[in-house]
């Protein structure tokens, strides 16, 4: 029957919390992979080279349809096999967390490339042309005009992607990763399932809180960037802030 003892849950909270480090570690690793290679993939999608574009679109379609658990399993069992076969190296001793990072990274490359692509497309192409005709080099035009605007547009999606990464990474426990989920699973079997509610409600609360924190901080970032931009533009006399909070251009 249902039984929940807060004092027991409290004890488990402190047994679980240290393992949040592992969760944050693979989130950061996967995000780094996603940003670096996602930018490349986004460039392929926006570029003119047809084979590269098809490759990028195909890769994204496959990653979008793969359940995260399948990906994690494939990487965890497949990469050591591949390494042994291609380079005769034995990497099965490598910490599980790196396999999880690779798996999550592969899928976040696809997600982030989509986010970057749509953010880039949301900034009108006229801006780029205007910058270039004002004497910016293409790189400067991207770096100073397109990128700051695209970044702001992409912030809510980035927060969302991070929450999804956190949740998908919890499946790493199926290949023996001891992150916060793996630890909870371990504690549960140690207690023979007697404290299951205390453990898993605490775990759920930690995840919930973490995702709310991520959401809030990205919303804060979004507001801050837009506000700063507005103030700077206002000081330069380029805009007048309208009462609805949007930005209107003065003729």
């Amino acid at each position: 029957m249902f039984r929940y003892r807060p004092e027991v849950a409290w004890v488990y909270l402190f047994k679980l919390l240290p393992y949040l480090k592992v969760t944050l570690f693979y989130m950061a690793g996967a995000l780094a992979i996603g940003i670096v290679f996602g930018a490349g993939l986004a460039m392929m999608k926006l570029g003119k080279n047809r084979p590269l574009r098809y490759f990028a679109v195909g890769y994204t379609a496959v990653m979008r349809s793969l359940p995260p658990i399948i990906l994690i399993f494939l990487i965890y069992h497949g990469v050591p096999l591949l390494a042994r076969r291609l380079w005769q190296v034995n990497i099965s001793g490598l910490d599980t967390v790196y396999f999880v990072i690779l798996a999550l990274g592969l899928s976040s490359v696809a997600t982030l490339s989509e986010i970057m692509k749509s953010a880039y497309l949301s900034v009108s192409g006229g801006q780029y042309e205007a910058a270039v005709s004002n004497g910016f080099t293409p790189f400067q035009a991207f770096r100073r005009i397109m990128f700051p605007q695209a970044l702001r547009v992409s912030i809510p999606n980035l927060g969302n992607a991070l929450v999804i990464l956190m949740k998908e990474g919890s499946l790493g426990y199926t290949v023996g990763l001891i992150d916060i989920m793996g630890r909870a699973n371990l504690l549960n079997s140690t207690a023979y399932g007697n404290d299951i509610y205390e453990i898993f409600f605490t775990l759920a609360a930690i995840y919930w809180l973490a995702s709310v924190l991520i959401d809030r901080s990205f919303r804060f970032l979004e507001n801050k960037l837009s506000l700063e931009r507005r103030i700077r533009l206002k000081e330069a006399g380029l805009i007048a802030a309208n009462p609805q909070g949007g930005i209107t251009r003065e003729p």
Partner: protein, 235 residues
């Protein structure tokens, strides 16, 4: 060491045999959660009901903020006890432990899809706008008819692309049924692969099958989108 093609072939047939179960779970979940999610979205779009709004926004945030595997583990442990309690209270001649796990899977996935889908429909309702409803009432339609004939078709067609993503996410979610011993695609192949340790072969096959299913769903939604383009409002 190379891939075991014989095992790949056998696991393909194993997985293909389990496809109907995956699709059944997906379809039943959608059948249960689409109407409920729409009703919740409509209820939340009204002006009144601050408490209702708070409860549902907490529910959505909790579902969105926790991994599905955690939801599965919690609900799967809680539900039988809860059902047993209810059945004993009502005095029904019914054995809780005889309930198939597929039923639990559908309940759990509905619990999470309702949250996501209600958000999707809320966006759709916002896209249609209040004026359409008022115009429908002014034209003499009843409130119910205004929703079924005017609002719902427009709202749904406005969010078809997002709906497609949600359906695909649901299909991917069903791969977690292994946690409650339901033998859908992932479950059967996982068991077969653990017998001879040919995980890579087995999971390559499953990956291909999921990609095939999801791309088919996307293609179906593309066709649907083209069909309903006529009365589309932009979301």
């Amino acid at each position: 060491m190379s891939l075991d093609f014989a095992f790949m072939k056998s696991s393909f047939f194993l997985a293909a045999g389990a496809v109907p179960l995956t699709l059944f779970i997906t379809a039943m979940t959608l059948l249960a959660s689409l109407p409920l999610a729409f009703i919740i979205a409509v209820a939340r779009s009204g002006q009144k009901g601050k408490v209702l709004n708070l409860i549902f926004s907490l529910y959505v945030s909790a579902v969105r903020g926790t991994p599905i595997i955690v939801q599965i583990l919690i609900i799967y442990t809680m539900l039988p006890d809860l059902l047993k309690f209810l059945i004993e209270k009502l005095g029904l001649p019914f054995d809780v432990y005889a309930i198939n796990n597929v039923f639990y899977a559908i309940l759990i996935f509905s619990f999470s899809s309702i949250a996501f889908l209600s958000e999707v429909f809320r966006a759709g309702l916002r896209a249609v706008g209040r004026s359409q409803y008022e115009a429908a009432l002014a034209a003499g339609l009843s409130g119910f008819r205004a929703y079924t004939r005017i609002i719902a078709p427009q709202a749904v067609s406005a969010v078809l692309p997002v709906l497609c993503t949600s359906v695909n996410n649901l299909i991917k979610m069903t791969s977690l049924c292994f946690a409650i011993a339901v033998n859908e695609i992932t479950g059967v192949v996982r068991v077969a692969a653990s017998r001879n340790l040919h995980f890579v072969e087995g999971f390559l096959i499953i990956a291909a099958i999921y990609v095939l299913i999801c791309l088919t769903v996307e293609w179906g939604f593309k066709i649907l989108e083209n069909k309903v383009r006529a009365h589309k409002v932009s979301a």
